[in-house]
Every structure is written in structure tokens, then in C-alpha cells.
């Protein structure tokens, strides 16, 4: 019994640390309870890009003051937005009245039978109001399923070639005359140089690597290939993909190598760009502003030009990225949401702000002749970059948003790596000789995509 009493006396089970946490709990609870809660009303609008958020909030405020639309803009991270969309659509809950969707999230939203898509079909409205023709037509492609359009396009995102004018001039190359990739490769080979004499080149004409899948996909699209056709049928194993990948492989490795690995959005890539490790990069309009803020040291040294084409007279651009605005079916007020979507996406001041802040050109064709698109941009040595992008806008390739995009991309990644390895192991660096190998690898990858698609009873039923 003495032992028991000892234990009873041994005191409180609560240590000082726990007391502190309990104190924190009470204090923070009090703060949370008494702090004023922002009153939210009006249409809820989810966006994932900070720039867009910063642009829309003042607009929403102005509308509110003027007694117009009541819009409540919420910024979600690019991870959170699709998670919440999927979870809401699964649960059938009301989510937002308007939502901006990036291409990398779109596949999830657009999967399933047409009437199962959680967004309002805008096709009839677009045609009835004559809006369809006011937009750049290819920009609708990622938001279209079986001919039905589910979103207004936010952008065009053409791809141009960005080059270091200072380095090219130093090498005495007239780069703008290189209108095909073949001539680009031939002329620019001269720029592969070993500057410090350690036996390793310190400069490559092109920024590309087997892991830069976005750029490789853009190159495939430019060539007329891609992962899926416009109906969502996998086309990974097409001849044009095989030929293009075989050629790209010769850029990445072997005696004809012209590509160096300087990844975008990374510290190492940016350091290499400053050092002049790569001369040219594929550049979408949105990327210009990213460079301008991350690499101010390059001001004045860069120029833009259309991409070299895959064949003489061929397409001089591609596409990279993309965003839309859509209206979830669960909204109680689709008419007002539609009105807001149109005002935001057709607005001239917003289009101008978008261009001036982010370098992004609008898909609304009526705005293309505006003078502010022609303003010279010091970062690109005074080039009128808006105009340069606009010239290529009608030519951007079409691509769809397939739910099997992740799997197809992984398959493409597989092929690129294996093809490069094959070339290095066999010592075959000739595009024509690599093409059958590429085709074989692509067929295996496509078969895997098809396996996943056939597993899906709904896809099976749609395409017997």
C-alpha cells in the first residue's frame, strides 16, 4: 500500500511542455474565435496562378464598388486545385462558380463520358454569341472533348527560339537565316566549343536534354506528332514521332551532339545560362517574363526568332502550357458566371496587363492589332516580342487533354532515355538508322498506354 500512495503522490501527469502547449491552444483558440471573419459573397472563383490572382482582385474590387458583379477570388496552389476539383466532383458538392484550369490539371477534369464532365458545355453559347470566331481557334483544342468546348482559352502560348545574340554574333553565324532544324544543326555545330581546354565542351547551341519532356513534346507537336490525336486516340507510335525522336537523339548524344542540359526553373540551369553554356532555348511567351525576373543579367543579350521548321516551309512554332476558365455544373448562377468569364477573358485592359506583366498574348484576335503588343522590349534588345508571338499564334499545333496523359508522358520519357542509351551502346548516331528502333520502342510504349485505356470500361465502349 505504501507503493500505491507513492504513485498517487508522484504528481500530475502533465509536464511543463504540455502545459505550454495547452496554453498555446487556449490563446490561439481565443484569437481564432474573436478575429473578424471576412464576409464572402458573390461568385467564388478559384485560380492557381499568383499573377492572375493579383490581376483579378482589383477588378473584383472595382466591380463591387460600382455595384456590378460580386466576385470572390481565391488563390489555390496548383496541387490543391485539382485535388479539390476531383474530390468535389466525386462528392457532387458545390465547389466554385468559376475555375481556372491549367493544362496539366485538365486531363483529370475532362475524363469520362461527355455528360459526366463536371463543367458546363460552352459550345452552343460560344457559337450562338459569335464568340467562337473571336478567339484563336487552335487555342480551344485542349479544352475540347469530342467537339464540345468546356472552357474559354486564356492564352495561346506559342513557342519561339530564344538565342544569345552576343554569342551568335561572336561566332559569326547568321542565325535568322537558319529556317530548318537541319540547317540549324549544321551551322550551329560550330558553336560547340571547349572554352577552358578541359576536353569537355562548355557551350552547346541548344538547351535540351532527354529529361526535358516538355520541350521534347513541343518539338513533336511542331513536327505534327504528339501523344494523342484530336479524338484522344494514342498516337505515340506514329512515324512522325519516330522520325523526330530519332533526329532529336542525334542532337543529344554522339558526334553530332548540339544539345546541353540546362534545365528551366532551376538554379543550375540558370547558372549555366549565365555562363553561356547554352545558346538557344525553346521559349513560350510566359517563359519570357520568368527569365526576365530570374535572369536580369541577360538583359539586351537575347533575341527571339521563329523556331526552325522540321521541313522547308513547315511550321515555325509550337505550344507549351495553357490555361482556361470554366464553369462547374454545380453553380447556382451559370448566367452570371458566364458573364464574368467573358468580361475577364475578353477585357482589353486585362489582356494588356497580362502582356505587360507576364509577356502572355491573348487568344482574342480582335486585340492583336493593339499598339501595346508592338512596344519594344529592352530585355530582348528592343524586339517587339508581342508581335513576334502573335505572328505565330494562328499556327500553334492542336493538342488534347487526355486522362492518360501522365501514362503516355511516362512512356515517352522511357522511349527517349532508351533510344539515347541504344545509340550510345551501339555507336549508331544516324537518325535514319535509329528511326526503326524508335518506332519499336514507341510501339511498346503505346501498347502500354492502350492497355491502361482498355482497362477502362468507358473508354472501351466509346471506341469499340
Amino acid at each position: 500500500m505504501i507503493r500505491l500512495r507513492q504513485y498517487l503522490r508522484s504528481g500530475s501527469p502533465i509536464s511543463p511542455g504540455v502545459v505550454v502547449i495547452a496554453g498555446l491552444m487556449l490563446a490561439s483558440a481565443a484569437w481564432v474565435a474573436v478575429r473578424p471573419v471576412a464576409q464572402r459573397d458573390g461568385l467564388s472563383f478559384w485560380v492557381f496562378a499568383r499573377t492572375h490572382y493579383q490581376m483579378y482582385v482589383p477588378v473584383a474590387d472595382r466591380w463591387r464598388e460600382a455595384g456590378g458583379h460580386r466576385l470572390d477570388v481565391a488563390l489555390l496552389s496548383a496541387d490543391a486545385l485539382p485535388r479539390r476539383l476531383i474530390a468535389s466532383m466525386h462528392a457532387g458538392t458545390h465547389m466554385a462558380d468559376l475555375v481556372e484550369i491549367e493544362r496539366s490539371m485538365a486531363s483529370q477534369v475532362f475524363s469520362g463520358p461527355i455528360d459526366g464532365i463536371g463543367l458546363i458545355d460552352l459550345t452552343d453559347r460560344l457559337h450562338a454569341e459569335g464568340l467562337y470566331d473571336r478567339f484563336n481557334e487552335p487555342s480551344f483544342a485542349p479544352w475540347t472533348v469530342s467537339g464540345r468546348v468546356f472552357g474559354l482559352p486564356h492564352d495561346v502560348h506559342p513557342v519561339l527560339l530564344c538565342y544569345r545574340a552576343d554569342l551568335v554574333e561572336e561566332a559569326g553565324i547568321d542565325i535568322t537565316s537558319l529556317t530548318t532544324w537541319a540547317s540549324f544543326k549544321e551551322a550551329m555545330r560550330a558553336m560547340v566549343v571547349d572554352l577552358d581546354g578541359d576536353g569537355r565542351p562548355d557551350r552547346y547551341p541548344l538547351s535540351l536534354s532527354e529529361t526535358h519532356l516538355d520541350q521534347i513534346e513541343a518539338l513533336l507537336l511542331q513536327a505534327g506528332g504528339g501523344l494523342f490525336d484530336i479524338d484522344g486516340v494514342p498516337t505515340l507510335a506514329s512515324d512522325v514521332n519516330a522520325a523526330t525522336l530519332a533526329e532529336i537523339t542525334t542532337w543529344l548524344t554522339g558526334p553530332g551532339r548540339i544539345a546541353g542540359d540546362a534545365p528551366e526553373f532551376s538554379a543550375s540551369g540558370n547558372r549555366l545560362r549565365l555562363e553561356g553554356y547554352v545558346v538557344c532555348s525553346l521559349m513560350s511567351d510566359w517563359l519570357t517574363s520568368v527569365w526576365e525576373s530570374d535572369l536580369p543579367q541577360l538583359e539586351g543579350k537575347l533575341r527571339l526568332m521563329p523556331l526552325p521548321a522540321w521541313e522547308p516551309g513547315g511550321r515555325r512554332t509550337s505550344v507549351w502550357g495553357g490555361t482556361m476558365i470554366g464553369i462547374p455544373k454545380t453553380t447556382p448562377d451559370p448566367e452570371q458566371a458566364w458573364a464574368v468569364a467573358k468580361e475577364l477573358y475578353l477585357s482589353e485592359p486585362l489582356a494588356r496587363e497580362l502582356y505587360e506583366r507576364a509577356g502572355i498574348i491573348s487568344p482574342v484576335r480582335a486585340l492583336w492589332d493593339r499598339g501595346w503588343y508592338a512596344a519594344p522590349r529592352a530585355y530582348f534588345g528592343g524586339q517587339r516580342t508581342g508581335r513576334l508571338y502573335l505572328e505565330q499564334a494562328p499556327d500553334v499545333p492542336r493538342r488534347v487533354s487526355s486522362p492518360f496523359d501522365t501514362i503516355a508522358k511516362a512512356g515517352l520519357q522511357d522511349v527517349v532515355i532508351q533510344l539515347k542509351r541504344h545509340a550510345e551502346e551501339t555507336g549508331v548516331y544516324d537518325a535514319a538508322a535509329l528511326q526503326p528502333v524508335a518506332k519499336q520502342l514507341l510501339e511498346a510504349a503505346e501498347a502500354r498506354v492502350r492497355w491502361h485505356m482498355n482497362r477502362n470500361v468507358f473508354v472501351r465502349e466509346r471506341s469499340p
Binding site: 466525386h90 469520362g112 536534354s209 543550375s268 549555366l272 501522365t406 470500361v457
Partner: protein
Amino acid sequence: MNHHAAQSRAAYLFLTPFLALFVVFLIYPLVQSLWLAFQQTHGPSITRYVGLDNFKSIAVDRLFWKAFWNTAVFALASVCIQLPIALGLAMLLNRPDVRGRAFFRLIFFSPALVGLVFVAVLFGLIFEKRTGLLNVTLHAVAGFDPEFPWLQQYVMPALIIAALWLYAGFNMVFFLAALQNVSRDLLEAATVDGAGPLRRFLHVTLPAIRPVGSFLVLLSLIGSFQLFELPYILLGGGGPDNQGLTVVMYLYQAGFDAGDLGYASAIGWTIAILLGGFAVAQRYVSALDER
């Protein structure tokens, strides 16, 4: 008899807060996910019963087994690399002549305070070619290839290194506390008997810390099979050649990238069943062992 009834009543009362929340917030969604596992969903809102089709597909799904293999490799590395290193650190710290034990312990433990997102962002920078902290340091110290492609070709070693930084100190704290309970008398007796350091370790220390060790093995295995955020943010997905694809990431991709919540649920249940089977088998074997 009455006595027992009172105790049972008390037990149920004690369990009520936990069980009530557990049933509502875990069991109910779990049952829901079991139902989903037998559905084909296409687009999040449309489902159809497909029987065992999802499970049959998983059995032959190359990507699933690749993910499973990756996860198993990671788990194995956690157990065979991370835990021995943690134990080694703990034994260093446990030497009687070491001062500043609490200070070192704090340093080694501190990575566990950093959230996984930030660890992933941080290591994304550290593993970069040419400018990444790791390659720069290794190059300066050992003439290592500054272009070594961690996140392009050596994804799994990179993940294991990041996890080592993150968790080794956490595990070390367990080992250290266990080591401090190893009887000094026993160790000294062994020394007197002429046992060398290795034999002392094998015959005195190891048996004494075995419970903690097996607990940590269990924890590492469970943790490894939940691995998701770290590679997902570090690689932006499965990484090149899906070398960093883990089972939970594959589950996530199936559900939230491809919009097939049914398949995702079936993957989740397959993992749970495989792990559960493993745990039961291990219990059975160790029960045999003790007999």
C-alpha cells in the same frame, strides 16, 4: 462477476472518444473506398460495378509492380542503411566520455522538424547538377563528377540520401535512449571476461536494444510504404523512367491524374492486403522462432 462488468464498462467508456471518431472518420471512408475498389470510375462522378477487374488489372500492371519494387527498395534501404547509421551515431554519442550529448542530439534530430514539402524543395536544389550543393561539395572534396545526374538517373539513391538526412537523427534518438538503458555492469562483466568490442556489441548491447530495433524496423517499413510527398515534389511525379514512382504515388496518380478513383482504391487495398499479409507472416514466423 460484477467487478468484471464494471471494468468492461470502463474500458468501453475509455475507448468511446477514440472509437467514435475512428469509426466515423476512418472506418466509414475505408468502407467507401472498398466499395469504390470494385467500381470503374471514369471522370470522378461516374461509376460502374466491374467486379474484380481492378484487382485483376493490378496483378499484371507493369507500373504498379514497378512502383512496388521501388518502394520495396526504398524500404530495404531504410532498414539496411538508415537504421545502422542511426545506431552508429547513437553508439558514438553514447560513449561515456562524450560531452554535449544533448547538443548533438538536438542537431541530429533537427531535420525531422522540417516539413516534407520543404525538404523536397531544398533537396531539389541540393541534387542539381553542377551547381547543386552535393555535387559541388563532392567535386571539391573528392574530385567527383560535377555533372553527376542525381535526379536524372540516380533517383533512388537521391531519395535514400534525402530520407537519410531527414530520418536518421529521429531514429538515432530512439537508439540512444535504448543504449542508455543497457546495463553498464553487464558490459563491464563482459569486458572482464575478455570479450572484445564486437562480441560485447553482439551479446550484450544488441539483445538489449532489440525491442527498440524491431519497433524501428516496423516504423520504417510502414513509413516507406506511405512514401509519397517527398518524391512527388522532388521529381514532380515519378521522375525519369518512373524510377521514383512509389505505390502511394501511383495510387494518387491513378485517382487524381487519371480520374479513376476505383482503380486508385483497388491499389490502396492491394497495398494494405500485401502489407497485412506480410505482417501476419512475420508474426507467425517470429512466434515459431520463440517456441
